[in-house]
Structures are given as C-alpha cells and as structure tokens.
C-alpha cells in the first residue's frame, strides 16, 4: 500500500474556446496522488482547480495529455468502460443546495447510484445498504423519507457524501465541500471526511481556496496559479519552506486569529494576467516583485527542487537560500 500511485496526470491540458481565443484552464499539469492520501489543491478563483478535478474524472474531456488511474489511461476508455470505471471515482460538489434533486427523498437519492450501477438485485438489499450508509455519515433513520429542503447545509452535505460512497469508490474529488457551510458545521464535515478516509482507505483530491482547511486535511498540497501547478510538496514543506513567491504571498495573506503574533502581510501589486492566450513566460511575473527579463521570456519548468518538493520558478534557489525575500 505504501506510496502506491493511484492517480497520475501527464501534461494534462484543458483549453476552452472563447471568442478571444483559448482559455487555458488547465495547462500542462503533472501530478500524482498516492493511495489513501489526500492531495489538497489550493488557488484563487479562476485558477483552474475545479476544472482539473473534472478533467481527472473525465467529466470534461482533456484537450491533451493523459490521466492514469491505477496505471490505466482512462482518456482512451469507451463510454461503457468509463461507466464501469466511475464506480471507483466520485465527486462531492460545493453547493449542497444545488446538488440534490428537490423532488427525491433522501433514501431515493442515496439509492440511485446503486440502481444505476446495478449493484444489488433486490430492493431489500439496496434498502439495507442505504441504511448502512446513513448510519455511516451520521444521518438519523427517520430522515429516509424526508426531502432535501427539510435539511440544513451540513446535513445535506452528509447526504451528498453518503451518495458518493454508496458504490464503494476508491477515489473522491472533493470540490470545495465545506465552503458553503458555517465554521461550526464545517468542522463536523471535515471530521467525517477524515474518519471515512481512515475507515475505507479512500483517496481524496481536496479542492479549496481555504488554506487552513486544506492544511488540516491534506497529506500533500499543490498550489495552482492561472491553470498551472506552480508548487507541490508535503503540507509541512509547503508551509515551512514555500519556494514559489506566489505561495509565500498567499500564505502571508491568510488572516490569522493569533492576536499575540501579528504578522505583516505581503501586499501584491500589479495586475493579474489573463488566462486567455497567455503569453510566454511565468504567469505570475506581472505581480512578482522578483521578476527578471528571463521570467517574462521563458516558461519556468516544474522541477523537483528538493526531494518530493516541486516548484515552477526560475529563481527558486535564491528564494530557498534567502537571497530573495519580500519587503514588508
């Protein structure tokens, strides 16, 4: 089990045609996710993190590049093969208000994937499985015949999780699963996801803009900026020794509840580049205080700077040895 790769992407790209050209939503992403681990993906709105999750599940077709699931290239699968594969991979969406059919009962919602994938023959077996799942995610049995509108956000998200787990997937993309919830309820759902991971050896890709949540749940963290993965490392390395200037600025910008140690924030200047037909060079260069001519003329390569620590920056060495430091 140790360090067995479950998901691998190779030069994965997804471009969307727009009137002005192509929007590079996911651009040349190489990453691996090991079995039983959580890869957290952070980045700001529009950086392509949700698209990346969807392309990995083939909910969007990739423009080019490969997605390997347990060594199998799923981009070449036929529709039937893909339907079969989907039993292994599920997604949990952000908005628990929009992802449940308001006209189905909780029981019917959780049962539906079991019917679709023809997992059990009899209705009794399905019912038993639904009840087992409801218990697993902490839903009371009396809610079997209730409708989604009777539930608050936290309980709805439990229904969504039960539905995703119904067919025993190995891999779940969690796309901002707690962003719509209040903090007290958010903690309930985070604890549930971590408990289920332990119990069922699940592998997660956890997409969020909230760095403290990602730090709490992840094994490794990837940082995205305008469609590209710019840094990836274990969560401790990302937080203790970030190598990309954007990661450093991002970490500094998180509002802290620590009133004793107030840190000065790094305030980025400059305009954000457009992801439509991006120019050659580092996409962060317009906001980076350390940008040189090379940064605007040459694409930085995503390289392994330190064991297990990848970064795409021309000047990471100077960042690492402290020659370059933000002026705050």
């Amino acid at each position: 089990m140790e360090n067995q790769v479950l998901i691998e992407t190779r030069r994965l790209k997804k471009y969307f045609p727009v009137p002005a050209g192509f929007l590079h939503a996911v651009d040349d992403v190489n990453l691996t996710i090991n079995k039983g681990e959580t890869l957290g993906i952070v980045g700001e709105s529009g950086c392509g993190k949700s698209t990346l999750g969807r392309v990995i599940l083939r909910l969007h077709e990739a423009t080019s590049g490969d997605v390997l699931y347990d060594g199998m290239d799923i981009n070449n699968f036929s529709a039937d093969e893909m339907r079969y594969m989907r039993q292994n991979m599920q997604i949990i969406f952000q908005d628990p208000y929009a992802s449940l059919n308001p006209r189905m009962t909780i029981g019917q919602i959780i049962e539906e994937p079991l019917k679709l994938h023809k997992i059990f023959k009899s209705a009794d077996e399905r019912r038993a499985r639904v009840e087992e799942l409801m218990e697993l995610v902490g839903l009371p049995m009396r809610s079997y015949n209730q409708y989604p509108h009777e539930f608050d956000g936290g309980r709805r998200q439990r229904v969504v999780i039960a539905r995703a787990l119904s067919i025993n997937p190995q891999f779940i993309v969690c796309d901002e699963p707690v962003s719509a919830l209040d903090v007290s309820v958010q903690a309930q759902i985070l604890n549930l996801l971590m408990e289920l991971q332990k119990k069922m050896q699940l592998t997660y890709m956890f997409i969020s803009h909230d760095l403290s949540v990602v730090k709490h749940i992840s094994t490794n963290i990837g940082v995205m900026y305008l469609g590209q993965l710019i840094e990836k490392a274990s969560k401790n390395d990302i937080f203790s020794q970030p190598l990309h200037p954007y990661t450093i600025a991002l970490l500094s910008a998180i509002p802290s509840t620590n009133v004793l140690a107030k840190s000065k924030k790094i305030i980025l200047k400059g305009e954000i580049n457009s992801p439509i037909n991006p120019k050659v060079g580092c996409r962060f260069a317009t906001r980076c205080p350390f940008a040189t001519e090379k940064c605007t003329s040459e694409n930085p390569v995503f390289t392994e700077a330190m064991p297990g620590h990848f970064v795409a920056c021309h000047r990471w060495k100077e960042v690492a040895d402290g020659t370059l430091a933000f002026d705050v």
Binding site: S45, V185, Q188, K215, S256
Partner: protein
C-alpha cells in the same frame, strides 16, 4: 452619553412577521461604538448580523420586518423616529454601508464615474465638475486609476469593483462605515489588499466601523472590539485581545475549536454539534443550550443574563474563569 459615542444601540429587537410565524432575528442587543473605533460583529448564517446593520441604516424591509423594541442613537439622535427624509440625509452622509457582493451593489448600465458622481450630487450642492474631481480623488485613494472613470462595472475585476464600492461609501465622509462581509467574495491575496485600504482610510478619516463577518481572522486583523452573535443575541463582547485569548462563552470557545489553526498542527477539530436554531422557533432558556456541551437544567429553563464588565458574556456560569486569571 459621552460626546465621542457615534452609535449606541439599546435593547434592539427585530422580527420578521408573516401570517403564520414570526422569525425573531434580533433579540435584545446592546452595543456602542466610539469615534474611530472598529467593532467586529461575528456569527454564523442566521445569527442576525446583517439584520442589525440594516436596522441601524433604517433599511429593514417592512413588511415583513419590524423593529419591535429598542433604541438606536446615531450622534445622540434616535433614528427610529426619523422621517424618510432624515434617513436619506443620514445614509451616505452619516452612515454608509458596503455590501458583500460588489457586482450587485453597482448599476451595470451606468459608468462607474457617473454612479459615483450621482452620490455626491445627491448629498451635496456641488457642480458636476467638482463632483467629478472629488470622485477621481477618492478612486485614486483606493487604488483605481482615474482613466477608468468612464468604464462600466463589468469591465472591472472583483477586487477592483470592491474598491469602487468602498470609494462610493466614503464619498461624503461618513462618521460610521458598516461593512457587511466586504471581502468574503474575494480571493485571499486580494482580500489582504482591500483590508489594507480599509484600515488606512479608517485611520486617515477617523471613521468608526462595524465589520460584519464570519471570519475570526479578518476581525483579528482589522478590529479593536468584537461582539459574537448567536440567534440574535450578543453572547460575548469585549476587546479582540481579551475575547480571543480568554473566550468565556461556550459558543465562542466552540467557534475557536472548530476552525483549523495554521500554526498548530496537532489540534483536532472539535465541532459544535447540531445547527443554529430556527429563528421562528427558538428554544426555551438559553438559546444556545441544545448545542452546548455544558448544558445544565437551569439553561433549559431560564434565559441567562449578561455578566462581566468590559468583557461581557451571556451565560449562567463562568466556566472558564480560572483560565482567564
């Protein structure tokens, strides 16, 4: 009342009444803000934060909303008895508000310059050219270039739009700024920029501020005082430092325990079980008792009173007293 108190709210109750129920959104809150002070109003969805702000602005939608009890003094004047005309003069000039979503706060078919000038021309007797000059000055203060005066809102990014909205709220030098989740729709690096602008402007114009948010981190970065709201009540209030270091109400404790800390890896999240009560069907006794891990018999029967002085909290017990000393 001292002269430097800008706003004082006493025993405010706001209900939303429909034919078959009454949602008790705000249930007896008291607070005051002095000149130049920033108060963070923190709470979950449905805690009554925005309703409180709307009551101060005299913008509660009526029907169904009603201020059923209480007093709101702005510069010594009880605004509840204001006429519509007096309210209009107060809004913008005396108190102004920044809303959460900058897109819906701007008119999509008017240029940014025109809608900002309109604010100035409504409140002050100035010529169009003078108004334009004022607008451009303020746009530059918040970091929007003057050549964007004739652009439409859709041509701005989210962070730029929020800057425009901030500029708009400051055009008439208000004494009090109410910012309702001003950075919730923004990314963290942009949030840091916007908070810095708000902090600088507050210092420059000596403005008092109510910052409404669910993010305890944002309050720690910007406010002097904090009030924690739950089910339409202020359950704990004090200086940010006191409340953050020694929370005395079980709900405040619960909030801190349920957020992941960046500088503390080991800590496990301890959620608050259950969900906030329906405002139309509030529990007996202490409104927090169904979710409270320290709940006793008295909590189910009797509503607790405020205790403490500068750092006040609403609980039958003083559970964390020793820790605080």
């Amino acid at each position: 009342m001292e002269n430097n108190t800008v706003l004082e709210v006493k025993n405010l109750h706001v209900h939303y009444v429909t034919s078959d129920s009454a949602a008790k959104a705000v249930n007896g809150i008291d607070f005051e803000i002095k000149e130049g002070e920033a108060l963070g109003l923190v709470g979950e969805t449905g805690a009554g934060k925005t309703t409180t702000a709307l009551a101060v602005m005299q913008l509660i939608p009526d029907p169904p909303g009603m201020i059923v009890d209480g007093e709101i003094y702005f510069e010594g004047n009880n605004v509840i008895y204001n006429t519509d005309k007096e309210n209009q003069a107060m809004r913008g000039n005396g108190i102004s508000m920044i809303f959460q979503d900058p897109m819906t706060a701007l008119n999509p078919i008017m240029t940014v310059g025109d809608q900002l000038s309109e604010v100035v021309l409504t409140h002050e007797k100035l010529s169009k050219a003078e108004a334009k000059k004022r607008v451009i000055e303020l746009l530059e203060v918040v970091g929007v270039k003057s050549d964007r005066y004739d652009d439409y809102p859709h041509q701005f990014s989210g962070g730029q739009k929020q800057r425009v909205v901030i500029a708009m709220s400051l055009l008439c030098n208000p004494k009090l700024l109410i910012a309702d989740e001003p950075t919730t729709a923004l990314d963290v690096t942009i949030q840091a920029q916007v908070l810095e602008i708000i902090n600088n402007l507050r210092e420059k114009y000596k403005m008092a501020m109510i910052l409404i948010t669910h993010d305890l981190g944002v309050v720690a970065e910007t406010c002097d005082k904090v009030a924690i709201m739950y089910a339409g009540q202020i359950v704990e209030a004090g200086t940010v430092r006191e409340v953050y270091l020694h929370p005395r109400h079980p709900y405040t404790r619960g909030l801190f325990d349920s957020i992941p800390k960046l500088d503390d890896d080991s800590s496990e999240l301890i959620p608050i079980e259950g969900a906030i009560s329906n405002a139309a069907d509030l529990p007996s006794g202490c409104y927090f008792h169904p979710r409270c891990r320290y709940c006793q018999d008295i909590c189910r029967k009797e509503a607790p009173a405020q205790q403490g002085g500068e750092h006040q909290f609403m609980c039958h017990f003083d559970l964390f007293k020793e820790e605080a000393e």
